[in-house]
């Protein structure tokens, strides 16, 4: 299971990458592996407001629907539209295929996220 060192993580298996003042959010390798084949992603829309720890998108596998929680707050500036036609990209490369790009509202929220070591511990306990 891959857990890149440069990313930050949540206990609910989302990752965050900060680049040029924006945050990219996706799901972890562990998440895609436990969900199984992803068949549909319900994306938010541009300009939607994300609130930390609130649900912002839904991922459907063959078996069930799972909500994604926003690791940090902010306004959506872009969604990964590739996922509309090819949701399985989240299975093949969960770190290359981000789900939303947001404007970071409160830098201090980033401090509440886990580093890769802490996240690996979370996955080991599940």
């Amino acid at each position: 299971m891959k857990t890149p060192k440069e990313l930050r993580y949540t206990e609910t298996h989302e990752w965050v990458k900060v680049e040029d003042g924006f945050a990219y959010i996706g799901i972890t390798d562990f998440a895609q592996d436990s969900l199984g084949e992803i068949v549909f992603v319900e994306l938010p829309e541009e300009n939607d407001q994300l609130n930390q720890n609130s649900e912002f998108a839904t991922i459907e596998s063959v078996k069930a629907a799972s909500d994604l929680n926003a690791p940090i707050s902010g306004v959506v500036v872009a969604v990964n539209e590739d996922l509309e036609d090819a949701p399985e990209l989240l299975n093949t490369d969960p770190y290359e295929n981000w789900i939303v790009k947001i404007e970071i509202e409160d830098q201090s929220e980033l401090d509440s996220l886990l580093d890769s070591e802490a996240y690996i511990k979370v996955t080991e306990e599940e």
Partner: protein, 358 residues
């Protein structure tokens, strides 16, 4: 929590194990879609040892079965199988089941895992005025389902018994690799195939032998079992049939023999039939992007007219489809409805209940 005799083997094969009907069962080994396609195109093998087996024995066995079972018991010949229901007086379903007839004094009932204890108690409670013995044989049996277009040729390579003579919905004693099993030509996938009953050691040996001998044979979990039965509109207890959803509402009138003088639940069903059904199970094709799941509400304009009983992205059709219990007159084919999914309303259209046809 109970384990089937194959538990360790499932874990070795990399299965995800989940709790189902008080058993730890494999939900999937590789991926649900892959296992689903294996059964539609080649063959898959399922551990269904959690299913319940109940024997009804004795002088009055035929009279008794005739009273508790909706289908025509007296029409059965030895080694034949019938699908039907046990009903409450209200017409609601105790369970759906297969009845295997050995002879007039011996029937073998295969019931849903989650209902085994309830069924056994209910059957016994009806038996007081009959000379019958009702036995819960579930602990003695393990069961495999070998399903798919290649099931017959695969199984044939393990026996001298000519399996082409074993017709749909019949069973026989069959020796496979020197061990004896009860084999029926039945299944829950919409494909040709067999259900194989035996003692624990024999089933364990057979499962291993089959997987080693046939490269195209995939072990399949409960996930694929559900998508397969769903596509061909086979009901699942608690979803399309239940204590409150009758066989008529589910579209299973053919398994209810109204021409029998009596069976438990007949009066209630007859009344429902004569008054006209108020709702029934239909197929839905989801026209907007998205997947609807069990429990989603179905609307006509602003009025709630039904509820989804099972929903998936169908692996065979690669389309989002559902089974739903819908009020009349919105059940007519072609009717446009909407379904509430989280914050959205998805457009849907009523289609045939059997979603997938070969």
């Amino acid at each position: 929590m109970k384990k089937t005799v194959l538990y360790d083997h499932h874990v070795k094969l990399g299965a995800n194990m989940v709790e189902y009907a008080d058993y730890l069962m494999p939900i999937q080994y590789s991926a649900i879609k892959e296992e689903h396609h294996a059964v539609r195109n080649d063959a898959g093998i399922f551990d269904v040892s959690h299913m319940g087996e109940i024997a009804v024995l004795g002088k009055d066995a035929t009279d008794f079965m005739d009273m508790i079972f909706t289908n025509n018991i007296r029409s059965m010949t030895a080694n034949q199988i019938l699908y039907g229901f046990l009903l409450y007086d209200t017409g609601g379903v105790v369970d759906d089941l297969l009845v295997y007839k050995y002879n007039d004094e011996h029937y073998f009932l295969v019931v849903n895992a989650a209902n085994t204890d309830k069924d056994f108690a209910w059957i016994k409670s009806q038996a007081q005025n009959f000379d019958v013995e009702v036995l819960n044989k579930s602990p003695q049996y393990s069961e495999l389902a070998l399903q798919g277009p290649k099931a017959e040729s695969m199984l044939q390579s393990h026996t001298d018994y000519d399996l082409s003579t074993l017709r749909f919905f019949t069973f026989d004693d069959v020796t496979l690799e020197g061990r004896s099993f009860m084999v029926s030509r039945t299944g829950y996938t919409g494909e040709d195939g067999f259900e194989i009953y035996g003692d624990h050691t024999d089933i364990k040996a057979l499962f291993k032998t089959l997987l080693i001998s046939h490269e195209a044979l995939k072990p399949c979990g409960l996930g694929a079992r559900d998508t397969l039965r769903f596509e061909v509109a086979l009901p699942l207890y608690g979803h399309e049939i239940s204590e409150t959803i009758t066989p008529l509402e589910a579209g299973y009138k053919f398994a209810v023999a109204f021409d029998k003088p009596a069976f438990i639940g007949k009066d209630a069903l007859l009344k429902q039939k004569e008054a006209g059904l108020k709702r029934r199970i239909v197929g839905l094709e989801i026209l907007d992007k998205g997947i609807v799941r069990e429990g989603a509400e179905v609307f006509k304009d602003a009025t709630k007219v039904g509820v989804v009983t099972t929903g998936y992205l169908s692996p065979s059709l690669n389309k989002a489809v559902a089974l739903a219990l819908v009020d009349k007159p919105h059940d007519k084919r072609g009717t446009e409805l909407t379904i509430g999914v989280r914050k959205r309303l998805l457009k849907a259209k009523v289609i045939k209940r059997k979603l997938y046809n070969k």
